[in-house]
């Protein structure tokens, strides 16, 4: 059952070939047998999952099923789940049981999806390798000596290892797309504001956006259709109807204009990944698309601008963790300052501290104009450059990440080198555009991702492009050894 796609599973459930309870038990069994080596889950919610599965079976019997009714999924541990621990990968929230559901949680639940558990992630979503988690690193199912990418590494690894047909993630600088690329799955970051951030623990509020992981664009379309939508509880949610993301999947790519930024193919790009992207472009040409070289000259400024904006917003957002209202509290505080200082010092890990310090510095008196204001100005330059490009092309393509999965520990001691693993994805968050990563090759027997960037609210078109590519290639069907 685990080798079936989400669409096939939904058909099987609706035809009564198997029940959601049987499917859920099969997934839980795989998690129990296989996840010890991967560490993709922080919390497995067996009982709640089986209860949700039985409720879904009742809906299925009454003929009230939607496309996600009874489908198990893995939920990134950044989304609040009422009654189930929401740790955000941090010691700070190790004891935190959310008193309410995130909007994404509630929407998936209302659609009848079965949450199997909460997946591992970099602490507070700050990392590109899943090594900063308080619960230990996640291993890449393609080679357990390598990282799955981050920060949504647990969901990506769980989908790649066929523990679940789909998962959720969040993407602030590439945290859905980079792990999707490194684990060989399909991941989508929607337009900023398309999916509600309510109940999604905030890292950098002007960049954070939730999206799905799945094994195909078609499956991702179904997930996104449920996750997306206006939410008055999120002040930056966009009030705009959600389109039927499956409706256009079959559209022809004849005449599609693909832009290839020359800046994405320079120094630092692995030759195997570059060859995989080139081969993918050839497939698109065969499908009737044209490929034009474009230029995004400010590309090199995206990572530096991001490492001002994101830490600044992080230092502000994470000031709520003070040992008073929820989360970790240090023992025997001498006074209020000691309570704050030690609760935060003991509750946060090294990378989170690094970003709080950088952000605090960038926002401190006398430095605000030099860092934060400057970065927000550069952000506009980067955004405008994309908008100009979209006057000439329909989609921008390139590699999702500069290399395939790197080894555990390889970049752990060098923050700047780790930050550069998000070089192609970060600009998209600064601009708030939608983007996807789809499996596009196996250089050195490890997955490589193709990055697709669309104009605002072009999620449907991106899914169409990815789906058409997946009709003529089988990279997305490859399965790591031992997980078939």
């Amino acid at each position: 059952m685990h080798s079936k796609s989400l669409v096939e599973l939904a058909a099987g459930l609706q035809a009564g070939e198997f029940s959601s309870e049987e499917l859920t038990r099969a997934c839980l069994d795989r998690v129990g047998r296989l996840d010890g080596a991967l560490n993709s889950f922080i919390t497995v919610a067996d009982e709640q999952a089986l209860a949700a599965a039985r409720a879904a079976d009742a809906c299925l019997q009454q003929g009230e099923a939607g496309p996600l009714t009874g489908i198990p999924f893995a939920h990134k541990d950044i989304f609040c789940t009422q009654g189930i621990r929401t740790s955000c990968g941090s010691r700070m929230l190790d004891n935190f049981t959310a008193p309410y559901d995130a909007t994404v949680t509630a929407k998936l639940q209302a659609a009848g999806a079965v949450m199997l558990g909460k997946t591992n992630m970099d602490e507070f979503a700050m990392g590109s390798s899943n090594e900063t988690s308080f619960y230990g690193p996640v291993k890449n199912p393609w080679n357990t000596d390598t990282v799955p990418g981050g920060s949504s590494g647990g969901s990506a690894a769980a989908v790649a290892a066929r523990l679940v047909p789909a998962g959720t993630g969040t993407d602030t600088g590439g945290s859905i797309r980079q792990p999707a690329a490194l684990c060989g799955v399909t991941g989508l970051k929607p337009t900023y504001g398309r999916v509600s951030r309510y109940g999604m623990i905030a890292f950098a509020s002007s960049l954070d956006q939730a999206g799905p992981f799945a094994r195909s664009a078609e499956d991702a379309a179904i997930m996104l259709g449920v996750m997306a939508g206006f939410d008055e509880r999120d002040s930056t949610s966009v009030d705009r109807p959600v389109e039927d993301y499956r409706a256009g999947l079959g559209d022809s790519l004849k005449g599609l204009r693909i832009g290839l930024p020359k800046e994405y193919f320079g120094e630092g790009l692995d030759a195997g990944v570059a060859a995989a992207v080139e081969a993918a472009l050839e497939e698109f040409r065969k499908l009737g698309a044209t490929v034009t070289e474009i230029s995004l000259p400010n590309t090199h400024l995206a990572v530096p601008a991001y490492y001002v904006v994101a830490p600044a917003e992080c230092s502000s957002n994470l000031s709520r963790f003070d040992g008073v209202r929820f989360g970790y509290r240090a023992g025997n505080p001498q006074d209020l300052t000691d309570l704050y200082t030690r609760s935060r010092g003991e509750g946060f890990g090294a990378e989170v501290k690094r970003r709080i310090l950088i952000g605090t510095y960038a926002l401190s008196a006398g430095y605000y104009d030099a860092y934060y204001l400057k970065a927000q100005q550069v952000r506009r330059l980067i955004r405008d450059e994309f908008l100009q490009a979209f006057e000439q092309v329909d989609v921008i393509m390139g590699p999702t990440a500069p290399s395939t999965a790197f080894r555990l520990g390889e970049k752990a001691d060098d923050p700047v080198s780790m930050y550069l693993s998000d070089i192609y994805t970060i600009a998209v968050n600064l601009a708030g555009l939608p983007a996807m990563s789809v499996p596009a090759g196996m250089p050195g027997d490890m997955p490589a991702g193709l990055h697709l960037v669309g104009n605002y609210f072009a999620e449907g078109r991106l899914l169409n492009i990815a789906h058409q590519y997946q009709q003529v290639t089988d990279w997305h069907l490859r399965c790591p050894e031992g997980y078939e």
């Binding site: 900023y192 505080p333 950088i358």
Partner: protein
């Protein structure tokens, strides 16, 4: 921009963030490296460029000033480290 250990201590204090004395040299080194990296931004002429705070340039929505939430104090306080009679407890602030 190269930071000194005393700068890191000052920033950590501003953030009310406890860091081990042993870790200060490493933090100083890492923060200096990150700041040196972001200094590339200084090479860009941004005179007259409006800062971009929201990718879609949306502004905050307003809603009618009416009560929409019920009091759910017990639910929210059950995750607090220490409460009493609906109040959060902290070490004594005023002698």
């Amino acid at each position: 921009m190269s930071l000194q250990a005393s700068d890191v201590e000052k920033i950590a204090h501003l953030a009310r963030l406890g860091i081990d004395a042993d870790d200060i040299p490493e933090h100083t080194r890492n923060l200096s490296a990150i700041l040196a990296f972001v200094e590339q931004l200084n090479a860009v002429d941004t005179a007259g460029v409006e800062p971009l705070a929201h990718p879609l340039e949306a502004t905050q929505r307003l809603r009618p000033d009416t009560v929409t939430e019920v009091n759910d104090r017990e639910n929210f306080q059950h995750v607090a480290p220490q409460t009493e009679a609906g109040l959060y407890l902290v070490p004594k602030v005023i002698e």
